[in-house]
Each structure stands twice: as structure tokens, then as C-alpha cells.
């Protein structure tokens, strides 16, 4: 399909409506990031999403957009519940893949000499799930409970505290989960993977607060310069992957009866109000809840490992959850579009929710400054903490970017890393990394990613979220 790109201003690029598009495409980006975006087929995917029934306003792309399967990664699309669709491909296989940030009362400088030992201890205590399994085995009944209760299941079992739940998106539980719609295969894949990190771009990183951009918000978030923090990135593991896969296959057949053509089979979908749509939403919620329990458990073991390794008491460590956000999800939300209040199914595939100050879904403790937005970079550069802004409610259905976004394919990354000892290169820069597979490190080299600082600058300048702090990595564990 032919399409044009029209520059609106420094941070916005429009794809005017042509052909089968029902709405225009809108890309938040910059003149520095656009050339790379045009290199792959992600903009064609923005156009393809714009053809789907019930889409509202724009098919959106964040500055970290890259070529996904069906929907682009870094894409946001909202559909009317009355006549719109829901698509498992618009949420992604890793349902509720997300991040959480832990703050401490320690200065990174106090811990720096012990980083290597700390990384080894974390690597030992937190299962990556690659080539080995998790620490716990769940019966199908227990897994069903996790699927309904989410992070609160983990807290009830002793993994963390009630305060953690208050600092998790949706309090760590998505309503409407129905364990009956989940296949035996999903239960089988998930039974020994709860509390595991996974591979690919998933990680656990020890960091220090390198720079503060907004003192008041940083203070409300409990952040200070030089502070030791921990960033966790993981999702719903095989449980969620299988749920997505099962529904995609069902919908691949189902969608043929709906009377519209799909430009890519991966966009298979169902009407939100149909039985198929409702069943997917109920299954997706199960996976979202599994993911929240997963990150809650990983955080609990992180706390224990820090206390043991550094020989500090919980009171002295004060490892508190700043926030937990998901960046692969479909949610029923109310938004004002052209002056009208609408209930929409917002698909965020590689996009983070970004609620402004005063929004009722922002936890009380952050309500005056806005929802914390966590943006991980690659393992060699930096990550960012932002705060949600009103601009996101007006332009992007309360969404912003989710990370750096890949710039190189895995094959290109492996080629670029050929003959190099990536772990040693990072160690020379003061970053200790431990990983299960050598391939992962090569595929995840810094050069494989876009410059996260440019991505964050673009959403900050576009008004989708505002910069609060920058974090530098000290140690990383990966699957």
C-alpha cells in the first residue's frame, strides 16, 4: 500500500488516510529517529492497523516504534466497544510484559565494590527460566488462583507486602479473568515458570540515579541523586504466550466470517462484544494477572538477596516498589474523543500507560505529580523515569513509549558482536553482566537498540510524559 508521511511539527508525523485506512496514522518521533523508522516496515503496520473496524481517531506509533508482527511494536490503537475489534496480535504474545522499579535507601557508591558479588547472587537466586525451571511448581488449581488474583496471590503467599499492590498498575489485578477459557497447554507451560525472568530483552538491572530533571516529582517518587535502584523487566512467560497463541489461531479462522479483509493474518481479531472477543479478554486478563504475580515474586527474591548479600536489615535497605507498569495489554478505558466520552478498548503493544496528575487511577501518593512511567534502555546505556502528562490523555489515549526499541535485527546484532566478549566490554565500563546464554548478550548489545535518550526526548517534547530522572546500570542479569 502506498502512503505518504506529512510532518506536522518537530515531534509529530501524520500518515494521511488513504485506501482502506479508516483513520490517519500519527507517529510521535523526531527528525533524528524518523530515518531509522522508515528503514523497516513498521509504518506499513501503522497503516494496516488503521484499516481495522472501530478504530478511533488515529493509528498511533510511539518514537520507539519498530517492526513487529501484525501490529508494530510501539503501537497504540483504540477501538469502540460497540463496533470495534480486539486483536491478540495487538497486545502481543507476552501479555502484560512490563517493568517495575525498586528504590532503596542506599547510595550506589556504597554498593559499587560489591556489585559483582551481588550480580552473581541475584543470578543464582532469580531463575531465568531458560534451560532450567522456576523454584516453584503450581497445580492447575493454584495456577487458576494466580490467574484470577494476580499480584495479591503472591503477597498472600508471603512474597511482598500490601503496600506493593498499591504501587502496581491496577493494583496488580485485572478484573474479568476467567481461568476456564485458558487451555491445558497454557497451564502446562506456566506451571513451573512463575517467578522466572525469561530471556530475550527481559532483565533485572541494578542501577544508580544519575540525573534528576524534575526535583519535585523525583521527591514525590522517593528518588534522589546517587540512589541505588533495581529495574525488573518480565512478563507472563509461557502461560501468556500460549494464551495469545491459542486465541490467535481461533481468531485466524473466526475472522474469515466477519466480512472484512485483513492485510496481514497476524491481525486476526474478533469484535469486542462477541463471544470470541469476550473470551479473549477473559483469557488475556488471566495472563496479565500471572505476569503481575511473576514480577511480584521476582521482586521479593531481589529484596531477600540484597539483604543477605549486603548484610543489611530490611529497614536499612528500604527496598520499596516505586511502581509497576505493563506495556503489552488491551484495556477497556474511558476517553474523551472530540468532546464525547467513549468506552474504548485501548491496545498498547510496546507502549506504557501515562496518566496525568489528578487522574483517579493514579495511586494517591503520586496523584499530584502523575503516574510514574518506567522506560528501560539497553543494558549498556541508561533508563528513564517519567511522569504521566495531560498531553497523553489528549493525544494518545493516555499512552507513551515503552523503551528504546530495536534498531538492528538479531541477526545483524550477532554479526556486529562477532568476535567480541560483550560481558568483558561492559565490565570495562563498570557494568557487571551475567547471562544464561551467550547468544542473548550478543543479540542484546547496545548498538542493537535506538538511543533511548532520543526516544524519551521525543515523548517529553510531544507532551506525552515528562522526564523525571535518568538511571545508569551497574549490574545486569539476563536469561
Amino acid at each position: 500500500m502506498d502512503f505518504k508521511i506529512k510532518k506536522i511539527d518537530e515531534w509529530r508525523f501524520l500518515i494521511p488516510k488513504t485506501g482502506a485506512m479508516r483513520v490517519p496514522g500519527l507517529i510521535f518521533s523526531s527528525s533524528e529517529l524518523m530515518p531509522n523508522i522508515k528503514d523497516d516496515q513498521s509504518l506499513l503496520q501503522v497503516v494496516n492497523v488503521a484499516t481495522l473496524p472501530g478504530i478511533v481517531k488515529h493509528s498511533l506509533a510511539m518514537p520507539d516504534i519498530h517492526w513487529g508482527y501484525g501490529f508494530p511494536i510501539g503501537g497504540v490503537a483504540a477501538f469502540r466497544v460497540e463496533d470495534g475489534i480486539i486483536s491478540p496480535g495487538g497486545v502481543g504474545y507476552d501479555i502484560n510484559c512490563g517493568t517495575r522499579l525498586l528504590t532503596t535507601a542506599l547510595f550506589a557508591s556504597e554498593v559499587r565494590p560489591k556489585t559483582k558479588a551481588l550480580v552473581s547472587a541475584l543470578f543464582k537466586e532469580i531463575p531465568t527460566g531458560v534451560g532450567s525451571r522456576g523454584k516453584i511448581r503450581l497445580s492447575k488449581r493454584e495456577e487458576s488462583e494466580v490467574a484470577v488474583k494476580g499480584a495479591s496471590w503472591a503477597v498472600k503467599k508471603g512474597y511482598g507486602t500490601k503496600e506493593d499492590l498499591e504501587r502496581t498498575e491496577d493494583q496488580g489485578v485485572m478484573k474479568g479473568a476467567d481461568p476456564e477459557v485458558v487451555s491445558d497447554r497454557a497451564y502446562k507451560r506456566g506451571h513451573d515458570q512463575l517467578g522466572t525472568l525469561g530471556s530475550g530483552n527481559h532483565f533485572l538491572e541494578i542501577q544508580s540515579v544519575d540525573e534528576i530533571y524534575d526535583e519535585d516529582t523525583a521527591s514525590a517518587f522517593g528518588l534522589f541523586e546517587g540512589q541505588l535502584t533495581v529495574f525488573i523487566h518480565s512478563g507472563s512467560r509461557g502461560f501468556g504466550h500460549q494464551i495469545c497463541d491459542d486465541f490467535l489461531k481461533e481468531m485466524a479462522t473466526h475472522v474469515r466470517q466477519l466480512g472484512f479483509d485483513l492485510p496481514d493474518r497476524q491481525l486476526a481479531c474478533a469484535y469486542i462484544g462477541s463471544d470470541m472477543g469476550k473470551r479473549y479478554l477473559a483469557g488475556m486478563a488471566c495472563a496479565a494477572n500471572y505476569a503481575w504475580a511473576n514480577r511480584q515474586m521476582i521482586m521479593h527474591w531481589t529484596r531477600e538477596t540484597f539483604e543477605k548479600s549486603l548484610e543489611v536489615s530490611p529497614n536499612d535497605l528500604k527496598m520499596e516498589l516505586l511502581y509497576d507498569v505493563c506495556h503489552n495489554i488491551g484495556k477497556l478505558e474511558t476517553h474523551v474523543v472530540d468532546g464525547k466520552k467513549l468506552t474504548l478498548c485501548v491496545h498498547r503493544k510496546g507502549a506504557t500507560r501515562s496518566l496525568p496528575p489528578g487522574h483517579p487511577d493514579v495511586p494517591h501518593r503520586y496523584r499530584e505529580v502523575g503516574q510514574p512511567v518506567l522506560i528501560p534502555g539497553d543494558m549498556g546505556t541508561c533508563s528513564y523515569i517519567l511522569a504521566g502528562s495531560q498531553g497523553a490523555m489528549e493525544e494518545s489515549f493516555g499512552s507513551t513509549c515503552h523503551g528504546a526499541g530495536r534498531a538492528l535485527s538479531r541477526k545483524q546484532a550477532i554479526k556486529a558482536a562477532k568476535g567480541r566478549a560483550i560481558d568483558r566490554e561492559l565490565e570495562d565500563r563498570g557494568i557487571f553482566v551475567q547471562s544464561r546464554g551467550k547468544t542473548t548478550l550478543k543479540e542484546e548489545i547496545s548498538e542493537a537498540y535506538k538511543d533511548v535518550s532520543l526516544v524519551v526526548e521525543a515523548v517529553h517534547m510531544a507532551g506525552l510524559a515528562k522526564k523525571v530522572a535518568k538511571l545508569r546500570p551497574l549490574g545486569v542479569i539476563k536469561g
Binding site: Y69, G89, V130, G200, R265, S409, K411, Q412
Partner: protein, 141 residues
Amino acid sequence: MSSVSTYEIIDHTADLGIIVKGPDVEQLFIRAALAMTELMVKGDSSDIVSTSEVVVQGEDFPDLMVRWLGEILYLFEGEDLIVHSIEIKSIGPVQLQATLTLSSFKPERHQVLREIKAVTYHGISVGKANSGWEARVIFDI
């Protein structure tokens, strides 16, 4: 595991894909399954523990390929079973019947190379090409 290098890796920004070639459709499906296994795990899988009969149904060859590879992926991810060899009993655009020879995943004998989350429909193609058959599949990893 049979040593097959009858595939090449496709460049795709986020994910990983393969192009597989075979002289006929049976070989194409066998090679695709072994190629995916080779991307996931390496090690000695000659210790056969079981055989399994599988029947996979689809709408057409591309759909059948996604579902077939999904079956092999599930066996590894859900049952810890690695496909060692495959015999295709019958194959058509909407159904495939095969006997799989399987070995058990053992952490001391095998190394997981990467986790494949799923076999996607994105850009899937299966069809005749030149003198044989060719498939293009993208995995989510």
C-alpha cells in the same frame, strides 16, 4: 537431532525468522520443524524416549505450517520433549499426520539457545518455488 542446515535466518528487527527449502512438501515441513528445534536447543538428543503420533489441521498450507510448528514448540516448552526425527504419514493443505521421535530435555546434556515464544502468522508463506517447496516463518522471541 539430525543435522540440518537447510534453512537460512531472515532479518527481522524484533524477531527471528527462517526461510526453509525442501524438494517436496513433506521434506519442507520436516526441515522447518528441525530448523526451529535447532534454533531453540543444542546437545545430544539421540536418547529416544518416546514416539508420538500427531495430527494437525489447518485452513491451508501456511496456516498448517504455523500450527505444525506450534505443536513442536509446545512439546518442547510444555512437555520438555525435543524432536529428534519426523516421519510424515500424510499431508495435504488442511491436514498433516506425522510420527515424531522424541527425546527428553536434560539440562546436563542440552543447552537452551533461545526461548521462542510463538510461531507467528506474520508474513507467513508456504508454496512451490523453483524446483521444490519453500516456506518463510517468523517466530516471536
